[in-house]
Structures are given as structure tokens and as C-alpha cells.
Amino acid sequence: MSGHHDDGHTHEQNEAELRTKALESLLVEKGIISTDVIDDVVRAYEQDIGPMNGAKVVARAWTDPAYRERLLKDGTTAIAELGFQGAQGAEIVVLENTPDTHNMVVCTLCSCYPWPVLGLPPAWYKSEAYRSRAVIEPRAVLSEFGLELEEAVEVRVWDSNSDVRYMVLPERPEGTEGMSEDELAEFVTRDAMIGVAKIASPAATV
């Protein structure tokens, strides 16, 4: 064990931080992991594996009807076409939102989430409030997110209790005709791919 932090800060050593350091230190010492393996995984999930991946999938589906068809038929394979796969992505099912049907995703028992396309879940997705309420009062939850759906729209809540992971394919907003795939991907939000938001029309925000 060596190496003092010399950034001059006084760290409040909270218990979780201490215990994490102890575990990492022991596992590194025993050769089970190395420090750079941990660094590398952290960096990957901070920088490479996030909702920008899902956004590319969505933008592709919006612009390529054949891809859209493959994506809805076999999400895992179609998503892997764009290079996204890995932990928590063994089987990804893509749910298509339409003017008549709104899909939203939850994991009531835990916080399961399609990492390869959305990265790690936000705190609210892991919250007891979201986990408990999404299945019994989805419209009330959506309303808190600012999304009011008419009664005529069927709300489908997907509880991710098996190894299957769900991602929502949001509706393409109006006013995006003629945009390129890259431009479209900029509009796609994480929340829309969880199904707690729609994607606003760029015209609406001008």
C-alpha cells in the first residue's frame, strides 16, 4: 500500500469510501484486479457507454425503414450492428411508441436497465418512488415528468424482471424532415428512450 493523495484537499472519509478503498486495495494486492482495469471500466461508463449510443440507434431507425424493422424484430442484433453490446445487453427488446401507444420502462425489484444503449441509470430510475409507482400510477408519474397523455393513448409499463432489457423507440418529432442521422441523434433524449418523455419538435423550441 502506498501513495498519498497530494491534491491538498481534506477528504471527508465516509464509510463507503473507506470500505471501497480497502476492497480495491486488497483485490489489487492479491492480483485479482489491477488499478487500470478499474480506471478503464469507470472511464468506459463515464464516457463511452451512455444514452448517446441509444440515440444513434433511434436516429438510424428513424431514417432507415429496414433497420427499424430489424430493430423491432430483434433489438439485440440490430443494436449490435451499430457496435453496442455488452453487460446488461444480452437481450434487448425495443418498444415502439406511436400516437396510440406509449411504452415506459421500469424495474420494480431492482434497477435493471439496458446499459449498452443507455449507460447507467439515473438516480430517479433507481428511486423507490419510481420503482413503486410506475406500475400502479404510470400516468401520474409521467405527469410529474411533464408528459400528459390523453386517455385514448394506451400506456404500457414494462417491468424488467428477467434478463430481457427494454428500450423505447420514441416517435420522431415533426419538423425534423430532411435532417441527417447525426443531426437527429442530437435530439434523442435518455428520458424518451426510457419512455418518460417525448421528444420535442425542434420547431416548438424556436
Binding site: G3, V28, L109, S127
Partner: protein, 219 residues
């Protein structure tokens, strides 16, 4: 257990955080990565669900991971409780001390390759299945004390098979700690809101949930 909270009242509004970072504190990232790179059979969930309910509700997401990972690493013999506590004490006594850095580019490459691959749960590519899309099914009233993928809110309820996903390994534990052996068809099953929540259901809403075949009976 209290983790099985679907449909439970009393948890308040869903609070969101603007511009939330992936990890709120560096140790969270370390715990996350540490878990991903030292996979243990059965994963973290059984140990998380075995926490005292008050502790479960009072712990943050990564505090639960840290707890369960520690339990798992000790149980698997990677570390002993004594050496862990001694090491915690060293860090406590030496604020600012960081774990020794050891680099191993070969390990990094191996882990990258492993993590970039698909992690298919062991399963059969095909087999017999008892239900077809459109079949009416009732969820059996199974009340395991151990880990289960059958939440309380769905038990006993009537649904309709939507599709067959494939053949997945059972994850349920009975007795607690002992995972049931077997690979079964897993279906997506649809339940109308009114079936699950009666008069209090919101209009035109439903829940889709994944059901291992042994959770279901014909209705």
C-alpha cells in the same frame, strides 16, 4: 422483502436531478467497476435483498452494491473479513491514503474484450413451451422467501401471453441461497391495469412483465 415495491404506496414524488453525473462520488465508480470485473455466481441481488429492510431503504444504490459485493467476496474466499476490517482501519487512520496503483495492460485488454461481448445467460436455444401468444394465464401464487423474479403485485392475477422470448435459466432461490435448477420458456405477459389495481387503476394502462413458465397456469 421490501425491495419488492411495485405498487406500494408512500414513497413520494419521483425526484430528478439536473445534469446528473454518471457517478456522484469517485468511490461509486470504483465499486461499480470492481463488481463488473470480479463477477460472482448469483450476482449481488440476493445479498442486497437480504439486507434489513430499514438498511435497504436507508442505503444508496452503490452502498447496497458495496455491501453485497463485500458479502460475496468474503463468501467466495477472495478476502477475509479480518483482513478487510484491518485494511479499512488503515485507511481510516490515514486520511488521504489511496490504494496502491498496480497496472496490468493485459488484464485491461482482457476485461475490455469480456465486457464488450454479449453476456448471454445460459439458456437453451429452443424447446417445448406450453403457452402461445394470446393465451389467458393466471400467475401462480408463489411466495418464496428467497430471491425471486415474481413480484408480489402480479401474483394471482390474470394476464395474456404476448410473446415467447426464449428459454432462460431460473433465477429463483428456494430455499434462500439455493438457486433452483432449470431452464424454462420466458414469456412477456400483459396485465390490464384494472386487473392489477381494481378501481384505483388509471384508465387505458397495462403492465407487461416477463414470466418464467412455471410462474403461470392456464386460465
Amino acid at each position: 422483502g421490501v425491495h419488492d415495491m411495485g405498487g406500494m404506496h408512500g414513497f413520494g414524488p419521483v425526484l430528478r436531478e439536473e445534469n446528473e453525473p454518471v457517478f456522484h462520488e469517485p468511490w461509486e465508480g470504483r465499486v461499480f467497476a470492481l463488481n463488473l470485473t470480479t463477477p460472482l455466481s448469483g450476482g449481488l441481488r440476493p445479498a442486497i435483498e437480504a439486507m434489513r429492510p430499514a438498511d435497504y431503504l436507508n442505503s444508496s444504490y452503490y452502498e447496497k452494491w458495496l455491501h453485497a459485493k463485500t458479502v460475496g467476496l468474503i463468501a467466495a474466499g477472495y478476502v477475509t473479513e479480518a483482513e478487510l476490517e484491518a485494511r479499512v482501519q488503515e485507511f481510516r487512520d490515514n486520511p488521504g491514503l489511496e490504494p496502491e496503483r498496480v497496472e496490468n495492460p493485459v488484464l485491461v485488454a482482457e476485461q475490455r474484450e469480456r465486457l464488450a461481448g454479449i453476456f448471454p445467460p445460459a439458456r437453451n436455444p429452443e424447446g417445448d413451451s406450453s403457452f402461445r401468444p394470446g393465451d389467458a394465464v393466471r400467475v401462480r401464487n408463489i411466495n418464496l422467501a428467497g430471491h425471486t423474479r415474481l413480484p408480489r403485485y402480479i401474483r394471482g392475477h390474470l394476464g395474456t401471453v404476448d410473446r415467447l422470448y426464449g428459454w432462460h435459466e431460473l433465477q429463483d432461490q428456494d430455499p434462500p441461497g439455493v438457486t433452483k435448477e432449470g431452464i424454462e420458456p420466458v414469456y412477456s405477459v400483459r396485465f390490464e391495469g384494472a386487473e392489477l389495481w381494481g378501481e384505483q387503476a388509471e384508465p387505458n394502462s397495462c403492465v407487461y412483465i416477463d414470466m418464467w413458465e412455471s410462474y403461470l397456469e392456464s386460465a
